[in-house]
């Protein structure tokens, strides 16, 4: 199945914010917004739900820390207990620094990997650009022409009313 898209190109973040807000209020289905930088407030404008990545970060960090504490205790006191400087077997205070480091490592790396996974960011992958300048200085609002009821002219008016630099129409082939 293919999708028919209506794309409005903008050159200013205020315009794209406004137009996105307006498009959502009018019930257009917003496929995506493309921007050269993270425009503040756009998630609200698009109505995106908050990301769940912090959970990944928290849980993996926690499990990393737990794993490390267990490992340190196991190696030092259980697997091969060795008297080091007369220190007690469970030298818990001494285990804290590495536990912390491993927690940060687990949390950080796993969050980024999760981010790559959910966003489909893979080395060498080339995604279609919405516009050659969309990573430079152009903002794009992509609306889906949902059905026959879609009033293309109205939509175009909306986009142009917000200083669209350009309005494009594109058919996206089924994947």
């Amino acid at each position: 199945m293919s999708r028919r898209l209506l794309i409005g190109m903008f050159s200013d973040e205020h315009d794209i914010l406004d137009v996105t807000k307006a498009a959502r209020e009018r019930g257009y289905r917003i496929v995506d917004v493309y921007a050269p930088y993270a425009v503040h407030g756009m998630d609200k404008a698009m109505g995106l739900p908050p990301s769940r990545l912090p959970w990944v970060c928290f849980l993996l960090g926690l499990s990393g820390a737990a794993l490390k504490v267990w490992f340190e205790y196991w190696t030092t006191a259980t697997d091969w207990p060795i008297n080091v400087g007369g220190k007690p077997w469970d030298s818990l205070p001494a285990f804290v620094p590495i536990t912390f480091e491993v927690m940060v490592l687990f949390a950080g790396i796993s969050t980024v990997l999760a981010f790559f996974a959910v966003s489909g960011l893979v080395p060498g992958r080339s995604k279609q650009l919405i516009h050659p300048r969309s990573t430079n200085d152009r903002f794009a609002l992509v609306l889906e022409q949902t059905d026959a009821a879609f009033d293309k002219a109205a939509a175009r008016r909306l986009l142009e009313g917000h200083n669209a630099v350009e309005v494009l129409e594109r058919v996206e082939e089924a994947r």
Partner: protein, 470 residues
């Protein structure tokens, strides 16, 4: 309130800004891309080549020294039974300290929403990476048998299995440094992805485009991705902030957990963290002042940036000075003759010259920055920043060498003087650092374009005017 210093454009600001703009010059978004990318796309200038050649020769010298040392033995350094560490660990702590400022700028200032960081965070992060590389080198090459360095990681083995000593601060170091490097690298790379995409999209088809294409992971500016990106960036900043504190705390524990007078001190963690930021800020200043000149980025790294960083230098210098005084006071107040002696010996013993170099560079010289005129004088700031780095190197040297060279038993007392091999290794680490940094300047955007663009829209000189249709 900071004033505009060193700006090359008179500002006519239509919107009543509370603060002067962060980016001077009337930049549009495309111009940002153009300014930053073109610096990379042009052929390098004579100045760059000269700097690169100098850095590369230093690196070659260092590689030669390290190769000779590994082939022949640690005896090629000036160390001895009494002074078991000197240049090696001094360099290690010094470079780690340098690295910390990068993380401070990119992560901590991000959390504090300090938007001025956008112009400098990319290169500060790069600085962190290269400094951590230099730092990580020293614990490895300082070993008697560096080819067995991997033994300090616990891995399954056929020895029983025999694990490692998790109580050793050196084992903590190994974990701290590798975590720090990996997290810094990740943080830096995640920040780079949008810019890599921008360059990819500018580049002509060819190898360059393919390489940037590979590394940009198919970034296309989708806002759904941007949203997650923002979250990830915030999380990483949140993780990196305690990390940077923990890393230097752990480094300070190398000394603080020991029994050697002059090392055995509870003040070390905050003292070291402050010192790290102090030296790192000075290094950022040094690098920024060079980079803005060489890469013509005066509009992005403005006088205001320099001013702000100078103030940070003043604050951290004050903390460090307080630590020096506290150390001295506690030692004399302690009634412990070994402690008392170590500090008097620092100030009046054979290494007094190093101690007073440290005090002058770290406490006295930064006092000049209290004067606005000094802060506005770029060459003066440059010189001060270098002096602070010298002073901070000597701080580590003083802590390590003066504590060791005269400890408990007078029969053990010894002196230390470096050999040419050690000096060449130090020079080599600077060579490695600057070689990496200069290459970075040429192949990657030194300024985070996506972030600057974001700031530009609200805080740029043209904030109002950009509404014009291009």
């Amino acid at each position: 309130m900071a004033s505009v210093v060193g700006a090359n454009t008179a500002v006519t600001d239509p919107t009543p800004l509370l603060r002067p703009p962060l980016i001077t010059g009337k930049k549009r978004l495309s111009q940002v891309t153009e300014d930053i990318c073109s610096a990379m796309e042009r052929r390098p200038g004579l100045l760059w080549w000269l700097a690169f050649l100098a850095a590369l020769s230093a690196l070659v010298l260092g590689v030669a020294a390290v190769s000779y040392q590994i082939a022949t033995g640690i005896g090629t350094w000036g160390l001895n039974t009494t002074v078991g560490w000197a240049f090696d660990i001094t360099n290690f702590v010094f470079w780690i300290g340098i690295g910390h400022a990068g993380t401070l700028i990119s992560a901590i200032l991000f959390l504090f929403r300090q938007r001025w960081r956008t112009s400098v965070n990319r290169s500060a992060e790069a600085m962190t990476l290269f400094a951590v590389m230099c730092a990580g080198l020293f614990p490895v090459i300082h070993m008697g048998r560096p080819w067995l360095a991997y033994w300090i990681f616990p891995y399954p083995n056929f020895r029983g299995p025999l694990w490692i000593n998790f109580r050793s601060p050196l084992a903590w170091d190994a974990f701290a440094i590798s975590t720090y490097f990996l997290i810094s690298l990740t943080f830096w790379y995640v920040g780079l992805i949008p810019d890599l995409a921008t360059i990819r999209d500018r580049a002509q088809p060819g190898l360059r485009k393919r390489i940037f294409g590979w590394f940009s992971l198919g970034w296309n500016g989708s806002y759904r991705t941007w949203q997650r990106y923002e979250v990830v960036y915030l999380l990483l900043a949140g993780l990196a902030t305690p990390l940077v504190v923990s890393v230097h705390t752990i480094v300070s524990w190398d000394f603080a957990t020991s029994v050697i007078p002059g090392w055995h001190a509870t003040i070390f963690p905050p003292y070291f963290v402050a010192g790290a930021i102090f030296s790192g800020m000075a290094m950022v200043l040094t690098l920024m002042i060079i980079a803005r000149k060489v890469m013509h980025l005066e509009d992005y790294i403005t006088g205001r940036h320099i001013d702000v960083m100078c103030k940070l230098v003043i604050v951290t210098s004050g903390i460090v000075a307080l630590a020096y005084g506290t150390e001295f006071f506690t030692a004399q107040y302690s009634g412990n003759q070994y402690e008392q002696f170590v500090f008097l010996n620092r100030a009046m013993g054979p290494f007094a010259w190093a101690y007073w170099t440290m005090v002058s560079c770290n406490v006295l010289v930064p006092l000049l920055l209290w004067f606005r005129r000094v802060r506005a004088n770029i060459p003066a700031v440059f010189v001060i920043s270098i002096l602070v780095n010298v002073g901070m190197w000597f701080e580590r040297f003083v802590i390590i060498v003066t504590s060791l060279h005269r400890d408990y038993l007078p029969a053990n007392w010894a002196n230390y003087s470096p050999t040419a091999i050690e000096i060449a290794t130090l020079v080599g680490s600077f060579g490695l650092f600057f070689t990496c940094f200069l290459i970075f300047c040429r192949i990657l955007p030194v300024i985070a374009m996506a972030e600057v663009k974001g700031v530009l829209a609200r805080h740029g000189a043209l904030a109002a005017e950009t509404k014009e249709v291009a």
